[in-house]
Each structure stands twice: as structure tokens, then as C-alpha cells.
Symmetry: C2
Subunit: 322 residues, 2 copies
């Protein structure tokens, strides 16, 4: 975010995933100046994981110093349950040792720089709303379809965090009140029907209970990518699976539209790369929603791909300064 | 809202219902100083309806003048589809002549006072969040159970209106993706299962398909009030109906909790007077939601009853000044 005199500023963004850490030097215009990526060591504990991340940050800071770039601070996007203002990671399903880590305190001390923590899905949403698909919109809801369904709610260019920093759990809104059990303990969650995992499960079920010919029967492994590739080749069963995903996701997005009346919904994650998904998805939403709410609603794929988390983490830092 | 020097200010609030108009002089502390109520004339057109409201406002202004109270402006809560910033009522199902009425222009000219338009459900939510059940909370979601299910989303003490002023349509979030048709054109909406109308319908169906003894069989007319009164008398069928309403509403509230992680959900409307509803409702939400989101969530009945719309309309005016 430009300062009052409009000079460009710089921050370190850190995107902590389940398997990799990305660290980058990001400008206040959202440009990646320099970036690093390293796998998260399989053998680790809380201390070594923090050190590992810190070493990458140091490398990025050293690079900036060499180039005489002044770094204003650090933003980190982490999965899991967070206390954002306190800068604490409470727990994280994919990083079991990541429990009650006062991550802000650690990094502030280590680098003597201001630090902002953000949820990883929120960071991705922030970047899409900032310089990605939603850059011209005031209210952007991001939905990420992967192993699960994640989300981030950007209202007036900022994340809505909620009372305990737990808002934006879009994957766990109920679309089928008597539906299947979700891994979260709830049942009938959007995630059960619209995640990449759910799409593959639905296809496998159809293949089992159905005699229709399908390219999918010839594949050694059925993935969501394979399903979408087959749909592009007009495979009937694959088209049916895509249609079902669009309808279930459409029910979930209807809830977001009726609640927020947003300008834009951005769909991220691997599934969103399937362009075949968008026409039936938009139709499903239009069929359900009040016409005045879909009149100029845009439902579009995310633009920043793998970079979203990195850029968004830096954005979270820039926003935290205001 | 107190001005900088903390003196109390005054505004006219107008609550336009389907059958009555209420007009009141409201202080910036949320106190009703004076109020009037009159039925909406059955024989009317757009012009006579505007005149009718204006006459009541004039009466209230005259009263204020007599008491030497300076009125800062007027806030009006209207049902229907609105353009809030432009001050136009686009259409309203209960007031068929209320189509594309530039209500702000009319009243500004007539009274030479600033004017703010708000949706009636939003006005009710604003007042509950201001001086009612939610007065200590930062984020309050209001859900009103009546003929339909309405709502208002108060984030950081202000209504979230959405891109086309159409947000907060909580009654039309999908809880059963293959569910019954709703009058809005969508299907499986919360309103189909949790409105007063839906509760009566569910009870009648149970009575038809079920041989269980019930007080309800002895009544000339089954209303939601009668169902709740019977539940209080331990009538098994009435308890079952209450339980069902709680579960369906619980699914809807789960969506709001997972999306907003609010501090408080306020339930308004006649149904909410049924204290029996709250224990199973809270249990239903708790069963479905992430534990950290319900840890200190309050689900409580509205406090302002019939006054909510009136006070909230004035509040909308006070907020519009900032």
C-alpha cells in the first residue's frame, strides 16, 4: 500500500503450506521482487520449523539489503486456527506440532521488524481482491476448492475475521441439512460435495453404480483434473460429475450471494482451472438467487495461482499498518 | 449518536409496515420521545400513501417544535427492494403501488431536512445492535421469524448492505439443496422451514399423517403461538414441531456462524417469544459448528419488539451523517 507520498514500500511475505514454505519480497504494488521456496522438513519440531522459516526470511532480507531495498515488515499466512491480533497459531491440522505458537513474538524479536499474521485462505483472498481477479471490486468472496473448500471474505478491501478470528469457513456452510458427515463433525457441508476430493468420490460412485461408458474407466487413477479433462472431451459421465459439482457449489454460492450481495466471487484451487465448471456454476447461481443480486455479479476463476498466498501475506502486513 | 460535544440530538424515525405506519421522535441515545401509529389506508395510490406518511411526520415535527426540540433529520425503514444511497424504493411485495418511488427526494423537499432510507429488517437489526439485545456486541446478526424469515447483518456497528443494497437475505440461504420450493423462486430456503408460516404448515402435516394425541387437534385455528403454548404444556406433537424448527433454524444459523463468526445472533419476530425454542436451537448450532466459533457466541431473543423498526430507522439517519 503506497504511503502518503506514494513511494513504493516493501515487505516480506511468507506462505506456509502443508508441504512447502514460500518466502518473497513483495512491493506495495503487489509485485514479487524476489522469492524462495523450500520444502518443509519431514523431521521437525516446533522450534526447528520456526528456525527453518526464519532462515528463509533471513535469506530474503539479505537479498533485499544487497539491493538496498528497505523492508518495512513481515506478513505470514498460516493454515489452522489462529489468534490473528495476538499473532498466535492455536492449532493446524496439517502441521501437528504447530500448537499455540506465539509466532509474532518470535519473528518480531528475531528480526526486529513489525509482523502480521493471517490465515492462509484469507491471504489468498486478500491478494485476489488486491491485484488479482477482484482488483476492481469492493466486496469479493473467495472460495478455494482443493482437498477441502476454503474461503476468505473481503469487505471494503479488508478481510472479515469475525469475533474469534474464525470467520470465512465457507467450506462448512450447510447445503444439505440431512447430508453426509463432514470431517469437521458437521454434516451436509459444502465441502462434502464441492471439494476436489468430493468430486472424485462422486465420480467413483457413479462409475460403480452406472454402466455408462466413460474414459474414466480406462484410467489407472481418477483425479479431479482427469475428470475435467474428460469433460472437455465430451465424456458424458465426466460432464455429469461437473454438472453435479456446479449445482452443489451453486447452492453454496447462493448463500453467499443472499447474505453478502457481493460484487464478485472468485473461485480458486485446482478445480477452478476447469473452465467447463463456470457456465453451469453461473447458471446454477442465477437459477436460485434474487435477480437483482446476480444482475452484475461476477463469478470468475482466481488469477494469481500459487502466488496468491505469498502476495496476500505481504498485503496482510501492509494493511496491518493502517 | 452523540455529536462531538456529546449533546443529545433528535431525529424522526418512520417504520413503514404492511398494515401500519409508525412515526416517532427518537433521541441519539435511542429513546422514543414521542410516537404515533396509524393504519395504512386500504384505498390508496403512491401519492396518497406518501402524503399519508408525510402528514404523520409533520404531526411529529409539530410536536417537537412545540417542545422546542430541534430535529436533525428523518430516517425511514421500508420493506422491499431499495436503492439505499439513492433513496429509492424499487418495489415492495406488500405495497404493490410502492414502485420506483424517489422517497428521499420527496421527503427532503417537503421537509427541508436530511433523509436516510433503510430496509425495514436492517432497521430492526440496527436498533437491536444499538440499544437492544446486541448493544455490547461488535458484530450482530439479526434473524426475524415471521410470515417469512428476514435478517440484518451488523458488522462493526453498521449494516452490511452489499453491492446492490440487497444483502442480508437470510431467509433465502439454502439449507436443503433439493428442498421445497420457496415463494422467492429458489428451493430449500431457510424460510421454507423456519418461518412462522412454515412452522404451522409442519404442524398441520404432522397432525394429518400422525395419530398422536395433541392439544392442537382441539383448536379451531393452528397458529405458531398456539403451537408454542402447547409445547409449554408438554404437548408431545407441539414439542416435536418446536424441535424441528430449532434444527432447521440451527442449520441456517450454522451458516452464519461459519461465515461471520459473530459475537451474537439475535432472533426476532413472534416466534422468538417462544422461550422453548432457544435451548434446542443453541444445541443444534453447537452440534454443527466449529467449537471455537460457539465458545462465546450468544443466541438470544430480540428485546425491542415492535419498537425495533422505529428506533432503527432513526439510527439509520444518525449513522448516515457520519
Amino acid at each position: 500500500m503506497p504511503s502518503a507520498n506514494n513511494t513504493i514500500q516493501y515487505a516480506i511475505g511468507v506462505d506456509l503450506g502443508g508441504t512447502n514454505v514460500r518466502v518473497g519480497l513483495i512491493s506495495s504494488k503487489g509485485k514479487i521482487i524476489h522469492s524462495l521456496k523450500a520444502p518443509i522438513p519431514k523431521k521437525r519440531n516446533r522450534r526447528t520449523l520456526l528456525h527453518h522459516i526464519a532462515d528463509l526470511i533471513q535469506e530474503s532480507l539479505d537479498w533485499a539489503e544487497q539491493k538496498k531495498i528497505k523492508v518495512q515488515g513481515i506478513g505470514l499466512g498460516s493454515p489452522g486456527v489462529l489468534s490473528i491480533k495476538k499473532g498466535i497459531v492455536r492449532q493446524s491440522p496439517n502441521l501437528p506440532e504447530w500448537v499455540n505458537v506465539s509466532i509474532a513474538d518470535y519473528f518480531k524479536k528475531r528480526f526486529n521488524l513489525p509482523f502480521a499474521l493471517e490465515n492462509d485462505a484469507n491471504a489468498a483472498a486478500l491478494s485476489e481482491a488486491w491485484i488479482g481477479a477482484g482488483k476492481k471490486s469492493n466486496s469479493v468472496i473467495c472460495v478455494t476448492l482443493g482437498t477441502g473448500v476454503g474461503g476468505g471474505i473481503v469487505l471494503n478491501h479488508k478481510i472479515w475475521h469475525g469475533h474469534n478470528d474464525g470467520g470465512g469457513e465457507i467450506g462448512h456452510i450447510v447445503v444439505r441439512d440431512q447430508g453426509e458427515k463432514c470431517r469437521c463433525g458437521n454434516w451436509g457441508c459444502l465441502e462434502v460435495y464441492a471439494s476436489a476430493t468430493a468430486i472424485v468420490r462422486y465420480a467413483k460412485n457413479l462409475l460403480k453404480t452406472n454402466q455408462t461408458k466413460s474414459i474414466l474407466r480406462t484410467l489407472p487413477k481418477i483425479t479431479s483434473e482427469a475428470i475435467f479433462a474428460s469433460a472437455r472431451k465430451k465424456d458424458k459421465l465426466a460432464i455429469k460429475v461437473t454438472q453435479h459439482a456446479a449445482e452443489m457449489l451453486g447452492a453454496g454460492l447462493t448463500n453467499l450471494v443472499h447474505i453478502f450481495n457481493p460484487e464478485m466471487i472468485v473461485i480458486g484451487g485446482g478445480v477452478s482451472l476447469n473452465q467447463n465448471l463456470f457456465p453451469p456454476l453461473r447458471a446454477a447461481v442465477k437459477k436460485r438467487c434474487f435477480p437483482q443480486l446476480t444482475r452484475d455479479l461476477k463469478i470468475v476463476p482466481a488469477q494469481l495461482g500459487d502466488h496468491a498466498g505469498l502476495i496476500g501475506s505481504a498485503r496482510a502486513f501492509f494493511l496491518s499498518k493502517n
